[in-house]
Amino acid sequence: MILESISTILLILGAFFSLTGAIGLFRFPDFFTRVHAASVTDSIATILIIFGLILRTDFDLVTVKLLLILVFLLFTSPTASHALAKSARHGGLLTLPEIRATKKEDCSS
């Protein structure tokens, strides 16, 4: 019973964090803020939801598989975000303040 209520809290928190991340992904103004919103909440939501599910298992093979999913997601998702942000930066994508700064220079000159 205690386990189930803890699991409920974890699942609600996980759902909340992933929703905030998705809203950030959709509404934020430029690419780098969106990466930030998506990747940070992705990690915490994954941890919370997977642990919420683990508390509902009988601690057998299913638990091991859930832990394996957690390990895979925790390794791959931030790595992918990092690599993406890095190649966006190398590809010449500018942040919003930088774009504003260049625009101001254009106006003054």
Binding site: F72, F75, T76, T79, A83, K86, S87, H90
Partner: protein
């Protein structure tokens, strides 16, 4: 609940398909096609077809996307302006679609247990296969035993497709890496890839030998193992990957897999049964079935692994050559 999820996912699929029609950037088209595959795999999970979902997620979404990106690297990513009139194709499509929808009205309702499709051979598979074959996964029983001859044909098709691609494109020559290619500047990626590749190979082995009890089997395991090597090749460069698993070895492996499959058939043939009748492989029929299924799943796995990886080598070799020139 199942119906609701189904409806939402089908809606997402429809929107994705519509967007693909109007996009001119082929790179975006391929990415959305990856989403399309993932979504359809999700629908398969929702409709209880877990083995199919496994295959679609690994083959449809993984290998297809990688191969299409390889082709785009060689042919360019922009679709030029279209001089077709849109009217005629639209007319053809609308008429065909209307005819098909008219046809669906005669079909039995979706999900009804009394449908004709559920009455014919399925009850026999569902009731008898756990005793006859001795495996919990009915899909594996049907795939490897009842319809084993069919699956031999499919394996031969995969083998033939690999030969076709190799004769069109040719394998990259096995040479020592003169210049290091791959994602050099991504240090984090290289470290993580080193961790992920062995885990993936281990997981492929699990899928191969756990396929009798859960979703999985030779087809999926072969593709997942190939995907691990593809990941290695993408991060560390093709020369490193061909150094680990040489193209000539792959050619031999593809043939060996088909031979293992056919050889199991001939073994049962010479032991007094029919072709691919595993009952005679051991004194106990159920034990014989188990041995036979493990052997042919191994053959399928080896062939699919070798075929998929050599197809990838062929495309990557072309892309690498084009990049150097």
């Amino acid at each position: 609940m199942t119906e609701l999820i189904d409806l939402v996912l089908l809606g997402m699929l429809a929107i994705t398909a519509l967007r693909i029609i109007f996009l001119k950037d082929l790179f975006a088209v391929v990415m959305l096609f990856g989403i399309y595959s993932f979504l359809s795999a999700l629908i398969f999970v929702n409709l209880d077809a877990v083995d199919v979902a496994f295959t679609e997620a690994s083959v449809g979404a993984g290998i297809s996307t990688v191969l299409m990106l390889g082709t785009l690297a060689l042919t360019g990513r922009k679709e030029k302006t279209n001089n077709h009139t849109t009217f005629l194709p639209l007319l053809v499509v609308v008429i065909t679609g209307a005819a098909l929808i008219y046809g669906t009205l005669d079909m039995p309702p979706f999900g009804d247990p009394d449908n004709p499709a559920q009455q014919h051979v399925a009850p026999r598979y569902i009731q008898d296969s756990p005793q006859e074959i001795g495996l919990p996964n009915m899909v594996t029983s049907v795939l490897a035993s009842y319809r084993g001859f069919d699956t031999l044909g499919e394996t031969a098709v995969v083998f033939a497709a690999a030969i076709g691609v190799l004769s069109l494109l040719g394998l990259p020559k096995h040479e020592k890496a003169a210049i290091e290619s791959g994602l050099k500047s991504h240090l984090v990626l290289r470290v993580v890839a080193k961790l992920i590749v062995p885990l993936t190979l281990l997981f492929a082995l699990y899928v191969q030998f756990h396929g009798d009890y859960g979703p999985g089997g030779g087809f999926q395991a072969g593709v997942i193992a190939a995907a691990a090597i593809i990941l290695y090749a993408l991060v560390f460069g093709l020369p490193m990957a061909t150094h680990v698993i040489q193209p000539t070895l792959l050619k031999a492996l593809a043939a060996i897999g088909v031979l293992i499959y056919a050889g199991t058939g001939f073994a049962s043939f010479f032991l007094g049964g029919n072709f691919l009748d595993y009952n005679v492989l051991a004194s106990d029929p159920v034990a014989g079935q188990h041995i036979g299924i493990i052997l042919i799943e191994l053959g399928v796995g080896v062939t699919v692994f070798a075929a998929m990886l050599s197809i990838f080598y062929a495309f990557a070799g072309q892309a690498e050559r084009a990049n150097i020139q």
